[in-house]
Amino acid sequence: MRYEAPRTLESAVSLLAGEPGSAQILAGGTDLLVRLRSGFDEPDLVVDIKRIDGMNAITAENGGWRVGAAVSGAELGEHDGVKAAWPGVVEAAELIGSTQIQGRATMAGNLCNASPAADSVPALIAAQAVARVIGPNGTREVAVGDIATAPGKTSLAKGEIVASIFLPARAARSGDAYLRFIPRTEMDIAVVGVGVSLTLDASGTCTAARVSVCAVAATVLLVEDAAAALIGTPVDDAALERLAAACSAACKPIDDKRGTIEFRTKVAGVLARRAATIAIERAKG
């Protein structure tokens, strides 16, 4: 295995595109090193992107925030601007692993690892975040929900890197939240996780909503029926019940050592209701 730590995106792309064997990108390493150690992955080349200019930056852009791919969860959690605009995204990213994991793990890495249970992704999808992908054929903007295609697989072509994730400007009277279910209080992979982002008008009626659920299908789901249950309503108990039912109905989970089909389906609805409640409080300011 070879290790390279290029200083520019161009050289990173060219290393990855030009590698005849297999190559992996190293950001925080909290997934990659586990796979290397267990023998699950044996790449010929590892490209460390943390020394590339700008990868560690969080910059204001068009009212939103552009988060470099090498920004760790800990750094994100210390950024007042992003926390104020998208508290749901930040709390989701901060749920990944322990304090030690937070010191290294990145949202981009969490996204590209393409686990169905990735904690940051439902909140990112609910926020309509966009990944900037840079590769040998240029730059493209990809909705975060279009990155993972199957467990462990992404839509990125050989040589492409997610360089940053863009969180759009927050509309007024908006709030987002992410909740996940784990058996302990920390350190577990989400059994099910729900991200909700919504906007209210002056009278308290929901005018926009996005609801996303993880760990209940091969990839993280955007549940349009769940959003529809909220839009145009005062988001009262009846609407929340319909939201919960819609989320449960959208689940296509498996039985595994972390949860049963029945459990995930039921709890998805419970969490959707609870996350929406928090998002509403945040929207009301």
Binding site: S38, F181, D188, I189, T260, F263, V267, V270
Partner: protein
């Protein structure tokens, strides 16, 4: 002076015992200087790795190691062919450490290599060709007992097993007395319930590790993390055909054991590789290997039947306990059957235990082996009976409690015991009457452990400068060196700081039983006190010589020899340091020693109280409050006694809520890591409050009872009772993970 004439339990005001000095090995442990199993290296050292079966059950038709041996950098490859014939009592250990004709569980060692680096060793493993004939497997205990179950070993069931039963049943135990049928007939309420518990692992944070070297003359050295280096020496000598005196084992600091390091796994393999390679071999397990291939405790299936009168008197108790102990006869069902009714004074009791094998790793001891599971089942039924009859849970236990002189369910009569003291303390404690909120419940349970004595040797040297060097042979898993130092200093009457306790290697002392059975503070403490008393006798003799008076006319007090009787006041007292300074001139260096198979260990009872909250929409459980009441006899170092109470309680909480071995239909372990084998983390828990009860044990000079194991016995039931109360439905399977709790709540609500 005949010190042994002293009555055993003197009323004594202790100066050091009962205080909380800093442990002698503490600084090394907070600075990273302490050397654990994997922290040692040797010149020319090779890395050893193990090839493990990916099949739960398979015949090994052949192993071809030629390609591995030919790989540059590989210095030795071993299989079972490299081990000779061993005595019957070592056969199962050998076949577990290195598979013989069958691989019997996922992770079973089938070969090992020693190479110049980890990456070469890894490549060498991939080059070993094993010809497996995969066989059907069985991992569940009740399934393994069926007549059509795959059989692990033919013809090993002994005469206690009735004819016509599965060959996977190795032994049947039975304990009890009286007439249970008559007892049930006399009851107002009889409850019969079935329980299941999943297998759990001790979960020590330090994986097994060792460094072995052997010269061409067969003299060998072994550094390893273990609970008993004398056991390691004896077992490895037996397995490798060495004399005990040829193999010197040094115990490293140990990063947790809880019983799981009272046997061998890597050590014989490392020695065999070192012998073949002619170079030192270091072997360290990965976490995956620890889970797959060391010694978890049994999964169980238990039936309980208890009869109670309306006034709370228990008229009969019956238990059928089925434990699988992995691939070789190893389950702790005997202790489970003996201990499960121990807290109750019963006229009619019967406990039957079945020791079953299954395609899982060979079970090793796990803290009070066998008792937590059986106790969980019994205490759950007692709890349900109390609920049904509207009786107070502590009152019912007090009414039926074992007391001094009670004939235990497992046979002997109890001596002085502290169960009722713990129950009374719980009853009087504010926790018992604190108000509970919605979805919250309180659980109570009692537990017990026998505690053991065993072979113990201690040697105490009085150094020329008046300091004392104490050598003992029991690895320190929880602060025991502090306790030994305290007892030595107490007895000698010198400051704690003047004594240093070391764990000696196997060449320095006689046989020492492993650090198990909650025996160390009791047995090594007892030996330390006796060794100190011998040294005192000698020092009094030296003073007598110096003063020219009779030995009987000298006594020891406050660290000084003093003249007594007619000579009182004639000579100024001589301190230990003064006597030591002239030892050469009065007969030579001064030392005391004691060797004993210690008897008289006192049992330790406990009562646990726990409050839990259940989220009725998700089944999530939160532990709100926990209090341990346990009899320590005499707490030598109260902080370390509290530590045992807390650590055992938290292991029990993990066992009750989230820990379990998950096997797939292919018989492979699905969760061999700390991600999905979920031990409690700091944020899962409240403070664990402790109340130390002291009902002195007459068998120890200071009244000490072992405490380390009892603390894990009540929590499974206490937590289950609390969760059942909070959820409004009885849970009968462990772990009570959220999907199970939610399913039970939803089913009850239908």
């Amino acid at each position: 002076m005949a010190l042994d004439d002293k009555p055993e339990l003197e009323v004594r005001v202790f100066k050091i015992v009962g205080s909380r000095p800093i442990r002698p090995d503490g600084i090394d442990k907070v600075t990273g200087r302490a050397r654990f199993g994997a922290d040692m290296s040797a010149p020319g050292m090779l890395v050893g790795l193990v090839l493990r079966s990916p099949h739960a059950h398979a015949r090994i038709r052949g192993i071809d190691t030629a390609k591995a041996e030919a790989l540059p950098g590989v210095k030795a490859v071993v299989t079972s062919a490299d081990f000779g014939e061993v005595s019957d009592d070592l056969r199962d250990i050998l076949h577990n450490v290195m598979a013989h004709d069958k691989a019997l569980y996922d992770g079973h060692a089938v070969a090992a290599v020693a190479a110049s680096s980890a990456s070469v060793a890894k490549r060498a493993l991939a080059l070993i060709e094993v010809d497996y004939e995969v066989l059907p497997h069985v991992t569940d205990v009740d399934e393994a007992m069926k007549l059509d179950a795959p059989v692990l070993h033919e013809g090993r069931s002994d005469e206690t097993v009735p004819a016509g039963m599965s060959a996977n049943i190795m032994h049947r135990f039975e304990y009890g007395h009286g007439d249970v049928e008559a007892g049930f007939a006399a009851a107002d309420e009889v409850l019969e319930r079935s329980f299941k518990t999943a297998a759990t692992h001790q979960g020590y944070i330090e994986p097994h590790a060792c460094l072995a070297s052997m010269g061409p003359d067969g003299q060998a050295d072994l550094w390893c993390c273990t609970q008993g280096h004398y056991m390691v020496r004896n077992t490895c000598a037996g397995l490798l055909g060495l004399d005990a005196s040829q193999l010197k084992v040094t115990a490293s600091e140990i990063g947790g054991g809880f019983g799981g390091k009272t046997t061998v796994f890597l050590e014989p393999v490392a020695l065999a590789l070192a012998r073949k390679a002619g170079r030192p071999v270091k072997m360290v397990m990965s976490r995956d290997e620890v889970f797959r291939a060391t010694g978890p405790t049994s999964s169980t299936s238990i039936d309980i039947k208890i009869g109670m009168k309306r006034d709370g008197t228990i008229t009969a108790g019956w238990a059928d306990l089925r434990y699988q102990g992995g691939a070789f006869q190893s389950s702790p069902v005997q202790f489970g059957a003996m201990a499960c009714f121990a807290a109750y004074d019963l006229a009619n009791v019967q406990a039957i235990g079945w020791d079953v094998v299954a395609n899982r790793p060979k079970a090793a001891a796990y803290r009070a082996p066998g008792a937590p599971m059986g106790t969980y089942a019994v205490e759950s039924v007692v709890d349900e009976l109390c609920e049904k009859l509207g009786l107070d849970r502590l009152e019912v236990r007090l009414k039926n409690a074992s007391r001094d002189g009670t004939k235990a369910a497992y046979g002997p009569r109890f001596g002085r015991i502290g169960l009722t003291a713990t129950l009374e303390a719980a009853k009087a404690h504010p926790h018992y009457t604190a108000p509970l909120g919605p979805n919250q419940g309180r659980g109570v349970a009692c537990g017990f452990w026998f505690n053991f004595g065993g072979d113990t040797c201690v040697s105490m040297s009085i150094n020329n400068d008046g300091t004392v060097s104490l050598s003992e042979g029991n690895p320190d898993i929880g602060g025991s060196r502090a306790a030994m130092t305290m007892m030595a200093a107490e007895e000698l009457g010198i400051p704690y700081e003047r004594v240093r306790t070391t764990i000696a290697d196997t060449s320095a002392l006689g046989q020492n039983e492993v650090t198990d059975g909650s025996r160390v503070t009791f047995a090594v403490g007892l030996a330390t006190i006796k060794a100190a008393r011998e040294a005192i006798t000698i020092m009094c003799g030296r003073a007598a010589k110096i003063w020219g008076i009779d030995e009987d006319a000298v006594f020891w007090e406050d660290g000084h020899a003093k003249p007594a009787g007619p000579n009182a006041g004639k000579f100024p007292p001589m301190s230990l340091a003064e006597i030591a300074a002239v030892a050469s001139n009065t007969g030579g260096p001064i030392a005391g020693h004691h060797e004993v198979n210690a008897e008289g260990a006192g049992v330790s009872f406990a009562t646990h109280l726990v409050d839990a909250e259940v989220d009725p929409e998700t089944g999530a459980v939160k532990i709100l409050r926990y209090t341990v009441f346990q009899d320590a006899g005499k707490a030598v170092h109260p902080a370390y006694v509290e530590g045992q109470f807390q650590g055992g309680a938290v292991q029990g909480i993990g066992w009750a809520l989230n820990e379990e071995y998950i096997y797939g239909p292919d018989g492979r372990l699905q969760n061999p890591g700390f991600l999905d084998y979920r031990i409690p983390v700091a944020s899962d828990l409240p403070m664990i409050d402790t109340v130390i009860i002291e009902v002195p044990n007459p068998g120890h000079p200071y009244g000490v009872r072992g405490v380390g194991e009892t603390s894990i016995v009540p929590p499974l039931a206490a937590v289950a009772n609390a969760v059942s109360a909070a959820a409004g439905v009885r849970l009968t399977e462990l772990p009570m993970s959220p999907p199970k709790v939610l399913e039970a709540i939803d089913a009850a609500g239908d």
